[in-house]
């Protein structure tokens, strides 16, 4: 009883300053957003950069200088121009592969989770089998057997090998949603399966799907880099992976040409770090249990709760003093009052 009281008190005591704050975007969110935005801007900057990525401006591994900020790669191309074009390709591949993987994963998960029964067993059986095979092996085999590799074929291949974990997670959520009352209402009112899935089940797991999508994009960019480094990348196109592939093939590390392999490595690290951080901060936005306030707000709230607790304790103490020495009431009351303080103290900031 008293717990409910205190939590209600907490809610009223911390007024919402504005709507943005109500989403509780953390600093992590903004940092990740800036990183991702920077990478996207850099990929677009390639359109206005004066040098093309296939323009020979120097010789094999010219060091930085002479008007070239990052020197040349093994083809004598400007590393910056190649990096911009490569980032663009990698982002496109990540985006397309993310859409493909999330669509398949959410579709399979929704159907399996909602329909249930043997159909669920079948779909999840297939999913488990696919999950058990290392995706990179399948990826390499499919890429090798393709007659020629374009960024689209590569994106789709990555997409269709990385959906299983999304499907499993979505199925778990969908089967929980499927037991709720509003589904029964929808079913009784004669809505068909696709309608229920899209209008009544999907919205409940949409936040999860968005986060899964962000993770898929980051995963796809890394998968592209791994494949391209093995030489299975898109032909005739620059990507972060192909850039690393050529640096590796022409022994940039051994020849000390750091400008050939460090920039794509950094961008790759940044882009996957940015997306993973974005996913983690979105998780906090969507999941109230993971929400953390700002230190100042939390201190204020803590102070307010302490004040309220003191008042409550006074109220409780008064009748207790008036009534007969009913000692048992005291520990219970103090325990209840101390609870929010304890949780406040234990909360990591």
């Amino acid at each position: 009883m008293s717990t409910v009281n205190s939590s209600m008190a907490e809610e009223t005591a911390a007024p919402r300053a504005n709507t943005l704050r109500s989403f509780n975007f953390s600093a992590r969110f903004w940092v990740s957003l800036v990183i991702v935005a920077c990478v996207i801007l850099m990929s677009l900057a390639g359109f206005i950069y004066p040098t093309g990525p296939a323009e020979k401006v120097g010789s094999l591994y010219d060091p930085p200088g002479n008007g070239l900020l990052m020197g040349t790669d093994n083809f004598g191309h400007d590393v910056i121009a190649v990096l911009m074009a490569g980032t663009r390709t990698s982002l496109i591949i990540g985006l397309v592969a993310g859409i493909v993987a999330t669509t398949i994963g959410v579709g399979v998960g929704l159907l399996a989770g909602y329909v249930g029964g043997w159909f669920e067993e079948l779909l999840m059986g297939v999913t488990n089998v696919v999950l058990a095979i290392p995706a990179i092996v399948v990826l390499i085999l499919i890429s090798m057997s393709l007659p020629s590799s374009t960024i689209w074929s590569l994106a789709i291949v990555i997409g269709i090998t990385s959906w299983p974990w999304t499907a499993r997670a979505v199925r778990a959520q969908a089967s929980s949603v499927a037991t709720r009352e509003h589904i029964d209402v929808a079913r009784l009112s004669g809505v068909r399966l696709p309608g229920i899935l899209v209008k009544d089940v999907l919205p409940y797991i949409l936040s999860y799907a968005v986060m899964a999508f962000v993770l898929q994009v980051a995963g796809a960019i890394l998968a592209e880099a791994a494949l391209s480094m093995l030489g299975l990348g898109p032909s005739g196109v620059n990507s972060l992976g192909t850039q690393l592939h050529w640096a590796l093939a022409f022994q940039a590390v051994a020849s000390g040409a750091w400008w050939a392999f460090l920039p794509p490595t950094l961008v790759l690290t940044l882009v996957s770090f940015g997306f993973l951080l974005l996913q983690a901060s979105l998780d906090e936005v969507f999941n109230p249990r993971l929400r953390r306030g700002k230190r100042k707000q939390m201190k204020q709230a803590a102070a307010r709760r302490e004040e309220e607790a003191r008042l409550l304790a006074e109220q409780a103490a008064d009748p207790a003093a008036r009534a007969d020495p009913g000692a048992p009431a005291d520990p219970a009351a103090s325990g209840t009052h101390q609870h929010p303080e304890r949780s406040e103290a234990g909360d990591p900031v």
């Binding site: 296939a54 020979k56 010789s59 094999l60 591994y61 093994n74 083809f75 004598g76 090798m144 007659p147 020629s148 590799s149 030489g231 299975l232 032909s235 005739g236 050529w246 093939a249 022409f250 022994q251 590390v253 051994a254 020849s255 000390g256």
Partner: protein, 607 residues
């Protein structure tokens, strides 16, 4: 006979022969440094005595101490733990793998890639009678590592193995040879009277390791004539070294103190052991090489000049670009059965479209000289057969505008998509293939693809696995490809003309071809090839080869993209000097064939 390895320790006066045009740019400094061929010994060296055959910067090291000072460290031939030293197996370990180095096994003759000569090996001399027969006279006193005597029977039996087990590579000897007999120390070979291809026979004589009959007779019995399946950790040869140890990390050869050739080569090899450490990757070996832990190797090092520019006593045979003597030609193949590519004018336009200098500079790291429109390598052993003026006059060079005007002359016009087409037949989209991981070839094709796109021909690259590429090329299942043809050997350039152009035994698309993968058809090429093979003297041979080269330039069934060395030959003079170089050319820059000469001539620093 001993004159073949005459010593030339003369010190360069700076006016060295420069047979290669040095390109301008980053290399100017290195070239200037390298112009001085001699060097005074580094710290531990003999004061005052000029050393030759040292790093391209004129530096030499101070020598190693202890046992390692007497050992030669070599790399670039063995990349996995050695498991089998049967020279006839699929992938035998170094140095039993055929035609790599004459340290354990030797050949009858030894080919010199620079002079084109066939030097004596196990055979002291050879004589060619027209194009009908070859006779060889064996050296005196040759013994096997186990002490038994080497006889002509051993040589005969080695080639006989090709008849016993037709699956062996040596079996191809018998397509060119009718009969091989011995009389005492003289071996007579009757060249196939229809093919009359003396060059191919000599090439085999210079490449086939001679094995002991006593050992292989038993092998034939034990393996039921499946010699390739035999596994052994022993290698009994006639060479100056014996196999001492082979494990996961290294192969060690020990000097054969009873070597028969001590008189012939003027002494035993200077090193007591040859050690081949086994590396996981090129990088590992390159780092060890730079530090002087390896003396000589056959590995691709991008921008090797950086090593001597940074003061390391690293050297190559040539002091200037391309540093290595060209010995093979990666060819750009075009499938003549593909619509569009069946037109010689289109093929010639494509040959004009390629930026060869860019390929040489970046893909080959500068290790290729200027490509000439010829199937004859314009240097070293083959130079004598080349009509250079004719090749320059009616050949091609990089000229994108000329390429486009050739296409327009041939009736092609640019469509809305910027791609040339004629009667609805577009030039492309075509895919050009070469095996994944052949990095210089991959990079070269990437440049070619861009060159083609630039003039309006739609072509993209694809790099499948080697086995896949081999099958596709042999079956004619490709539009464009980069592939190898015969490298410099006693049978080239004839062999290369045959590889690229021969219309003998043409096979259908989908069936395995072993030459002319582009299925280029021509009525006169077979006669020209026959005439060149059977040419009785050098003058008529050159004339016949020039006729072939002229036909090649008119039809362009394929064109060279760059030159590659037969073997990369890089040395680090930190413990040994007197390496073979252009100014100290007592031996060619080789490991195989005539390349064993230098192991008898190296000089230890500090001695």
């Amino acid at each position: 006979m001993t004159a073949q390895h005459s010593h030339r320790f003369s010190i360069s006066d700076g006016t060295t022969r420069r047979r290669f045009l040095a390109t301008t740019g980053t290399l100017g400094g290195a070239a200037a440094l390298a112009a001085c061929g001699g060097a005074t010994g580094g710290g531990g060296g003999d004061e005052g005595e000029e050393l030759v055959g040292v790093g391209n910067n004129g530096e030499a090291g101070t020598g190693r101490s202890g046992d390692a000072a007497d050992q030669l460290f070599i790399a670039g031939f063995q990349w996995s733990p050695p498991t089998n030293f049967n020279t006839f197996a699929g992938a035998p370990a170094w140095p039993a793998s055929s035609n790599v180095a004459q340290y354990v096994y030797e050949t009858l003759l030894r080919f010199d890639i620079v002079s084109g000569e066939l030097l004596p090996g196990l055979a002291a001399s050879y004589e060619v009678d027209g194009n009908e027969s070859i006779s060889l006279t064996l050296q005196d006193g040759i013994t096997w590592h186990d002490g038994s005597e080497f006889t002509a029977d051993d040589a005969l039996y080695t080639f006989e193995l090709g008849k016993i087990d037709p699956g062996l590579g040596v079996a191809s000897f018998w397509t060119e040879v009718d009969e091989m007999t011995a009389d005492g120390k003289t071996i007579s070979i009757a060249v196939n009277s229809e093919r009359k291809n003396v060059g191919a026979v000599l090439a085999q004589l210079a490449q086939q390791f001679i094995v002991p009959k006593a050992v292989f007779e038993k092998v034939v019995e034990e393996t039921d004539k499946n010699v390739a399946s035999w596994e052994t950790d022993e290698a009994i040869g006639t060479g100056p070294f014996t196999l001492e140890l082979a494990d996961q990390t290294q192969i060690i050869l020990a000097r054969n103190e009873d070597y028969w050739g001590a008189d012939f080569y003027g002494g035993l090899p200077k090193m007591s052991k040859i050690i081949h450490p086994i590396f996981k990757s090129n990088e590992d070996g390159n780092i060890k090489f730079q530090s002087g832990a390896l003396d000589v190797m056959q590995q691709f090092v991008p921008q090797i000049w950086k090593m001597w520019e940074s003061g390391k006593p690293v050297g190559t045979y040539l002091q200037e670009e391309p540093y290595f003597v060209p010995g093979s030609v990666p060819m750009f193949l075009m499938n003549a059965t593909t619509p569009g590519l069946d037109d010689p004018k289109v093929r010639k336009a494509l040959a004009y479209a390629v930026d060869y200098a860019s390929i040489a500079e970046t893909a080959m790291s500068g290790y290729s000289s200027q490509v000439l429109a010829s199937l004859i390598i314009p240097d070293g052993a083959e130079d004598q057969w080349l009509d250079r003026d004719k090749a320059t006059a009616d050949g091609w060079a990089y000229d994108a505008e000329k390429a486009e005007s050739l296409l327009q002359e041939a009736g092609y016009a640019k469509g809305d998509d910027g791609i040339y087409a004629k009667d609805g037949q577009k030039l492309g989209p075509w895919t050009m293939i070469t095996p994944q991981g052949w990095t210089d070839w991959n990079a070269a094709l990437k440049i070619v693809s861009k060159n083609f796109q630039d003039i309006g021909v739609d072509a993209s690259t694809n790099f499948p696995q080697q086995a896949q590429v081999t099958t596709a090329i042999q079956n004619g299942d490709f539009a464009m490809a980069c592939w190898y043809v015969a490298g410099t050997n006693p049978a080239t350039p004839w062999q290369r003309f045959s590889d690229v152009m021969s219309n003998v035994d043409m096979v259908e698309l989908g069936q395995t071809a072993y030459r002319n993968y582009g299925r280029w058809e021509n009525g006169e090429v077979n006669d020209l090839l026959e005439a060149a093979a059977a040419a009785p003297d050098d003058d008529s041979k050159k004339e016949a080869l020039t006729a072939l080269d002229t036909l090649y330039r008119a039809e362009v069934p394929a064109f060279p993209l760059m030159y590659r060395p037969d073997e990369f030959f890089e040395f680090n003079a930190s413990n040994w000097t007197n390496w073979p170089t252009e100014d100290n050319d007592y031996a060619p820059p080789m490991f195989r064939g005539a390349g064993n000469t230098w192991i008898f001539e190296l000089k230890k620093i500090g001695e």
